[in-house]
């Protein structure tokens, strides 16, 4: 490959200057910086700071590919350079190199589409032809999850749009450009319709938000059809409004449609955190700006998105508690289930120092879901396991068969080498169970279990972080602890023992583990239950007072036949819950049939409406997918 950067000064000059320099002359990157201020910054600097963050990650990414590392230049760096019109010759060479061995699937399709558009008037004819040829010769797999399909269909739509009149013979799938546009648009509209009527499938993902947001940003930027551009913008608002509402200081927390063994305990360590940093600036960003993720690709086009003020305020201006009762949906269930897609009923309660969230339990995703937790705020979340939760560690081939076209046996072991290393381990902390039912009232969560004794792991696992303080096993059975400025009371209704908590330093090798210093409470009883109550430290004169308050609350339970709990919460609510029955709060059954798509402090939407109202204080924005309109308003 030709070296177009013999003069490294020229290379550096090709990049724009960054604003803050360290003593060694390099920019101090945000991922090496102290924790940023979390509150809202003045209106007049928000946009500037947002663009500064875009520029910082862009410069960092491009700066990785110095003259001696051209052979490593990835498609995000190429896209960034092409958008700036710099180092075009190097991009031409790299494109030609890349297109010699095209990839197969959505993770190749959308970066290639981004390069194609970013370079459509800058790349050489030869480079553009190489991209075009790759799409003619290389079959693309659509993938097997919803985020794959968003990337696949967006890329298909945009590439077909770029070559609008090309015949079927010029595309590897044998469809003409017009047919490919219909195919891509058809799926995208169906997904948008589902999401805006019955909820997002991969709701609150700790990582996959990028796989949705980036394609939507590409649509918003490059779709020639103004309706598709508008849909892209509005879907970003939809996704980011949810992100703003459910994150605590920018951190994702439960429930999550999909997360992983690391993020489920170190809640900040997630790609979603990159988006909080980028959009709201209210959290540290991960090392290398999450270079393994897709933040770089969002940065390519991020200047084309304006963070709505109301969404920004929701994320950063937490002067009041947030309470949301929302709906989402499970992944599509092919078989072994009564429903095509199962409704997921989420409860979210967020306070300044902690947040509690849950869904009703049951199966919602085959591997990576996370049903409930309490997560507390910390000054610097990096490396901190700031969460508590428990679960039944369910692992079954039949669950895989619900969602994948597979047989019972191969996947439970196979996925442990595909980034889900804990899947079939007894001590796992990730996943949902058909034998788990949950109810939440504000900062109290009750989970009941009636586990099939034939299960591989007939037990309940509770996560007790290395970062908990004052862990106290009381004679009553309560376990008291403090996480940050949050008091926690956890009760296992059956006997338990302790095991060390382990992590998997290599997500693709389940045989390599390390102890973290945390512990797992293991309660090996099939009829079981757990109770969690949280409260702010400032609400009690002392830790002892908190314990006394918990101990004074009425509580009865029965595990002999049907696991049943009756209790009064710290907030004075009366919860009655029997496994298999509708829970009651203050005597009223929790009627999920009445739940709206969103209902609560900031987000409100009727099921089936395709309209989302986002509010904070006097600010309001209405996203109406019926009319493809966005209406901003000032509330009285």
């Amino acid at each position: 490959m030709k070296n177009h950067f013999v003069n490294s000064r020229a290379w550096i000059a090709g990049l724009l200057a960054v604003t803050v320099l360290t003593a060694d002359g390099l920019a101090q990157r945000s991922f090496e910086s102290p924790v940023p201020e979390r509150g809202p910054v003045p209106l007049d600097v928000r946009r500037t700071q947002y663009l500064d963050r875009v520029e910082e990650i862009s410069q960092w990414r491009m700066g990785l590919f110095t003259p001696d590392k051209l052979d490593k230049m990835d498609m995000s760096a190429m896209s960034l350079m092409l958008m700036r019109g710099i180092n075009i010759e190097a991009c031409n060479d790299r494109v030609l190199e890349y297109m010699k061995e095209p990839g197969t699937g959505p993770f190749w399709m959308f970066p290639t589409t981004m390069v194609a558009y970013a370079g459509r008037d800058k790349l050489s004819a030869e480079a553009r032809a190489a991209i075009r040829e790759a799409w003619r010769t290389t079959r693309q797999l659509r993938g097997d999850t919803e985020n794959h399909w968003v990337m696949y269909h967006t890329a298909l739509y945009l590439m077909a749009q770029m070559y609008p009149n090309d015949p079927a013979s010029s595309w590897a799938n044998g469809l003409s450009s017009a047919e490919n546009m219909i195919e891509g648009k058809g799926w995208l509209l169906d997904w948008m319709n589902l999401t805006t009527t019955i909820g997002q499938g991969e709701y609150n993902p700790t990582h996959y938000i990028g796989e949705y947001a980036i394609p939507m940003l590409m649509l918003a930027t490059w779709a020639e059809d103004p309706a598709m551009r508008q849909r892209g913008k509005m879907m970003m608002d939809w996704l980011f409004a949810e992100l703003a509402t459910v994150t605590l200081d920018g951190m994702p927390r439960g429930p999550n449609s999909r997360t992983d063994d690391t993020s489920v305990v170190e809640r900040w360590d997630a790609l979603a955190t990159y988006f909080s940093w980028q959009l709201f600036g209210n959290t540290p960003v991960g090392e290398g700006f999450r270079g393994w993720g897709w933040g770089n690709y969002f940065a390519v086009l991020a200047a084309n998105y304006d963070v709505p003020e109301v969404i920004y305020e929701i994320a950063t201006n937490r002067t009041k508690d947030i309470l949301q009762h929302d709906q989402a949906r499970s992944r599509r269930i092919w078989r072994y289930g009564d429903e095509h897609m199962r409704p997921i009923y989420k409860t979210q309660y967020l306070r300044e120092d902690y947040a509690v969230g849950s869904h009703q339990g049951g199966i919602s995703d085959p591997i990576q879901s996370h049903v409930w937790d309490v997560t507390w705020a910390v000054d610097d979340p990096r490396g901190v396991h700031n969460t508590m939760f428990s679960l039944h560690p369910h692992a079954a081939g039949k669950v895989m068969q619900m969602f994948f076209c597979t047989y019972p046996e191969p996947m439970p072991g196979g996925v442990t080498y595909e980034g889900k290393p804990s899947y079939n381990s007894s001590n796992k902390l990730l996943g949902c169970s058909p034998f788990e039912q949950v109810v939440q009232d504000h900062d109290t969560v009750v989970a009941l279990y009636d586990i099939d004794p034939k299960e591989d792991f007939p037990q309940v696992n509770g996560f007790f972080s290395k970062d908990l303080a004052e862990v106290t096993e009381h004679a009553s059975g309560w376990i008291f602890a403090r996480g940050g400025k949050t008091y926690l009371a956890y009760r296992s209704l059956a006997a338990y023992q302790w095991e060390p908590h382990i992590r998997y330093p290599n997500g693709r090798d389940p045989t390599v583990t390390e102890e973290t210093g945390g512990k797992i409470l293991v309660s090996p009883h099939v009829k079981n239950g757990t109770i969690l109550q949280a409260a702010g430290v400032e609400e009690f004169a002392s830790f002892e007072d908190f314990q006394s308050a918990i101990l004074a609350l009425p509580l009865s339970f029965d595990l002999d036949t049907v696991p049943t709990v009756k209790l009064t919460t710290l907030r004075g609510s009366h919860i009655e819950f029997a496994y298999g029955s509708t829970p009651k709060i203050n005597g009223a059954p929790v009627d999920y049939g009445d739940w709206k798509l969103f209902e609560g402090s900031h987000l409100n939407s009727e099921i089936g409406s395709r309209v989302l109202t986002i509010t904070h204080g006097k600010l309001g924005r209405v996203l109406d997918f019926n009319t493809l309109s966005v209406t901003d308003m000032v509330l009285p």
Binding site: P106, L141, R142, D190, H340
Partner: protein, 357 residues
């Protein structure tokens, strides 16, 4: 990604095929015709990319392979895809090939040179495909959410699911009865369903608790069928699929992935199971025996198939390699395709005329 020899091989075969009768899964002719001189062409659908996940680069050659007995190897043709689950030919024209994949269904009209994805975004993750030999424009497409039928050689598709349960129509396998136009059996989540009007209406002929993974018609006796299930064992029918009896002498708690008849011997049957490995019968199902000696430990048998020319039994072992046995499972030897999964074995007669029952 086609191997250079493939074109010649296919062209040669196509020349020999003025009127052929292709059946997915089994040859049509009676054993007296299924003898030496390679009366059949033998194909597999194989994923040869161990541990492939979405996003990985495909670094190996996957998809359709034809057995080249003279060279003693499998020759790839068509496109490179890790997800091909089934294939079928148009019995009138060997150049017309259908394959089911993760994306849906792909059709070639030129012997595998070019392909077209003919499904729409709402008919994906194809499981199986069959052509009606008596109405070869009619193609049946098994889907994880039901059944689609094309009457124009796969150009367009329509759902035909009346009688299939709303929940429980996951369709892993579909098989056309070669004795009657429009008579089709579908292996679904909740049993085997029969249609006698080209999929317009279905009725349940065997209820099961879990998915029917394979349904096959005997090449020797068209009334005889075998079926493999997830948790209900192996089932047999002697009346064209109207009624079914569970095969005795086989375990039944764990899944069987497929069944096969030996086209060279009506007494010989074989089944594949991850848990149980390979089991065979040499008395038409009266008795069965495990045949795993020589296979890797914990056999994880993915598919079995029989070479219609030689009676050689093949076993695909999960991401290991393809094995073969010349004594129907008593001893095994490793074949090619290391790290593979063979999702389907197919053979088609080179010389048989298009016969009507």
């Amino acid at each position: 990604m086609r191997l250079p020899q493939t074109r010649n091989l296919l062209t040669r075969n196509i020349r020999n095929w003025r009127a052929t009768f292709a059946l997915a899964g089994f040859g049509f002719l009676l054993p007296v015709l299924a003898v030496a001189n390679d009366a059949y062409d033998f194909f597999i659908c194989a994923n040869v990319n161990r541990n492939y996940v979405i996003g990985s680069k495909i670094v190996t050659t996957n998809g359709l392979f034809q057995r080249d007995e003279a060279a003693g190897e499998w020759r790839h043709f068509g496109y490179n895809d890790t997800t091909i689950s089934a294939m079928a030919f148009d019995p009138r024209d060997r150049n017309v090939i259908y394959t089911t994949t993760l994306n849906g269904i792909w059709r070639s009209l030129d012997g595998g040179e070019s392909w077209r994805m003919t499904n729409s975004w709402d008919m994906t993750e194809g499981r199986d495909v069959e052509v009606d030999p008596h109405a070869p424009d009619t193609v049946y497409f098994a889907l994880p959410d039901g059944v689609a039928v094309s009457t124009d050689r796969g150009q367009t598709w329509e759902r035909r699911e009346n009688g299939l349960p709303d929940r429980g129509k996951y369709t892993q396998t579909i098989a056309v009865d070669r004795t009657q136009e429009g008579r089709v059996l579908a292996g679904c989540e909740k049993g085997i369903f029969l249609s006698e009007d080209a999929g317009h209406n279905w009725s349940q002929v065997l209820p099961t608790e879990t998915t029917v993974n394979d349904v096959q018609q005997s090449p020797h006796d068209p009334r005889r069928w075998l079926a493999a299930t997830d948790t209900d064992g192996i089932w047999a029918s002697g009346d064209g699929g109207e009624t079914w009896m569970q095969e005795e002498g086989l375990p039944a708690e764990e899944a069987f992935y497929n069944v096969t008849f030996d086209p060279t011997d009506p007494q010989r049957l074989a089944v594949a199971s991850w848990a149980y490995g390979v089991w065979t019968s040499e008395d038409a199902g009266k008795t069965w025996a495990a045949r795993n000696a020589g296979l890797p430990d914990n056999a994880r048998a993915w598919r079995v198939g029989v070479d219609p020319n030689s009676g050689r039994l093949y076993a695909s072992i999960f991401e290991e390699t393809l094995y073969y046995s010349d004594d129907f499972g008593r001893a095994w030897e490793p074949d090619a395709l290391e790290g593979s999964l063979v999702n389907a074995f197919y053979f088609v007669s080179r010389d048989a005329p298009l016969l009507k029952p």
